[in-house]
């Protein structure tokens, strides 16, 4: 198994992600408490090779990846994803043009 960072870092990473998305009241969320509890529980295991702990670490790493990737994906999505068509005037404005206007009207207005 490769590429896993320490449990503490992963734990802090997950809690940070929850905080980033929930704001100040993040400590009241279900996920915060559950993650905290799980890491506490897995803390007290013997030093011997422990498969359950490795599995838990891998799963928590995966969860961290899910949270951070989703956040980053949404950020990019919000920035770049099309929000439908723009009006003619707005479109012209983007390239620095204005729609032509006729002084005194075009003749057909009432």
């Amino acid at each position: 198994m490769a590429g896993l960072s320490s449990p503490l870092r992963v734990c802090r990473g997950i809690l940070k992600e929850i905080r980033a998305i929930k704001g100040p009241e993040y400590k009241q969320t279900l996920a915060y408490n559950y993650v905290f509890q799980q890491f506490r529980k897995n803390l007290i295991t013997s030093e011997r090779y422990c498969r359950a702990q490795e599995e838990a670490l891998h799963a928590s790493h995966t969860y961290l990846c899910l949270l951070s990737s989703t956040r980053q994906h949404i950020a990019l999505y919000d920035m770049y994803h099309g929000k439908g068509q723009r009006g003619t005037e707005e479109m012209a404005g983007i390239v620095g043009l204005r729609l032509p206007t006729q002084p005194g009207g075009k003749g057909w207005e009432k």
Partner: protein, 291 residues
């Protein structure tokens, strides 16, 4: 480009419905989406957030349910939304809880996967799913090699061979790689071994596994990820190896490459986690000596 085409089916599991548990009131404003006439799997990508509080509760048979305010979450097919264990339920609840003003269904991968497992919209049996999943092995990303340019050939050999060797050792099978357009010839014994192995998965795990396979376009990488041999980041990197190579050469375009990368990571991570949650047995193992 192919990847985008293949993403389409997974966008189906998004639509939702809720079920009113309080005797009167509150339910009326939800009705437009929930009426029985609407197609359950119509594609709705966003919706205004209509609840404040998310909680979970344990219902009949020990299954976990999600509550939005005082209503129970239902699947697009109209079933009561249930998750088999607490961890999965909390992860799903967290997805609902972290939505801001609009619900972005395209970012709620675990909810989507649960919906798919609960509703089984394509009505497939376990055997059909295994066959469909293993079909990817015939065109597995990491078995298709290029023969030029030399630097990409070298990169593919260096990065992909270790995973290929790992899976061949782990399952005692022969897969091999090929530079031909037809791909490598997969021996029948290999297929049988994998078929048998997947037979031990439950239905929910298979849903997750197939999702990971279709995201990564590789059975080998999916197995390596599920077996915890590699991390999600590594799996995604290996799956996009040629793309990464081209990015190294031509430059990175944020609104295409990065969007794709993060989405793929999120989807893959969700699938892997879904398999993990669905296949874990009892997680609580207490030590004898404890104060």
């Amino acid at each position: 480009m192919l990847r985008n085409l293949l993403k389409l089916p997974s966008s189906l599991g998004h639509a939702l419905s809720t079920h009113n548990v309080c005797p009167r009131g509150q339910s009326l404003k939800l009705l437009p989406l929930l009426s029985r006439n609407t197609k359950p799997y119509s594609i709705i990508t966003e919706r205004k957030k209509f609840y404040e509080d998310v909680s979970i509760s344990q219902g009949e048979g020990g299954m976990f349910e999600i509550n939005l305010d005082r209503r129970k979450l239902k699947t697009p097919g109209g079933k009561l939304f249930t998750a088999p264990n607490e961890a999965l339920a909390i992860a799903v609840a967290n997805e609902w809880d972290t939505q801001k003003d609009t619900l972005k269904f395209y970012s709620m991968h675990l909810t989507t996967l649960c919906n798919t497992a609960l509703d089984n919209p394509t009505l497939r049996s376990k055997d059909q799913m295994i066959t469909a999943a293993l079909k990817y092995l015939e065109t597995d990303t990491i078995c298709y090699r290029v023969d030029e340019p030399p630097s990409l050939v070298e990169l593919q050999n260096n990065e992909w061979d270790p995973v290929l060797n790992w899976i061949e050792d782990r399952y005692n099978v022969v897969i091999g790689s090929s530079t031909s357009i037809l791909g490598p010839e997969i021996p029948k014994a290999t297929m049988d071994t994998f078929h048998q192995h997947l037979g031990s998965y439950n239905f929910w795990s298979l849903i997750g596994l197939e999702y990971v396979i279709t995201q990564l376009k590789s059975v080998v990488l999916a197995f390596a990820l599920i077996d915890k041999h590699i991390t999600v980041e590594q799996a995604v990197l290996l799956s996009r190896l040629e793309e990464e190579f081209q990015i190294g050469h031509w430059g990175n375009v944020e609104w295409a490459h990065d969007v794709d990368l993060y989405e793929l990571r999120a989807r893959t991570a969700a699938g892997a986690l879904f398999v993990h949650f669905s296949s874990e047995s009892s997680t609580v193992k207490r030590k004898l000596m404890q104060d």
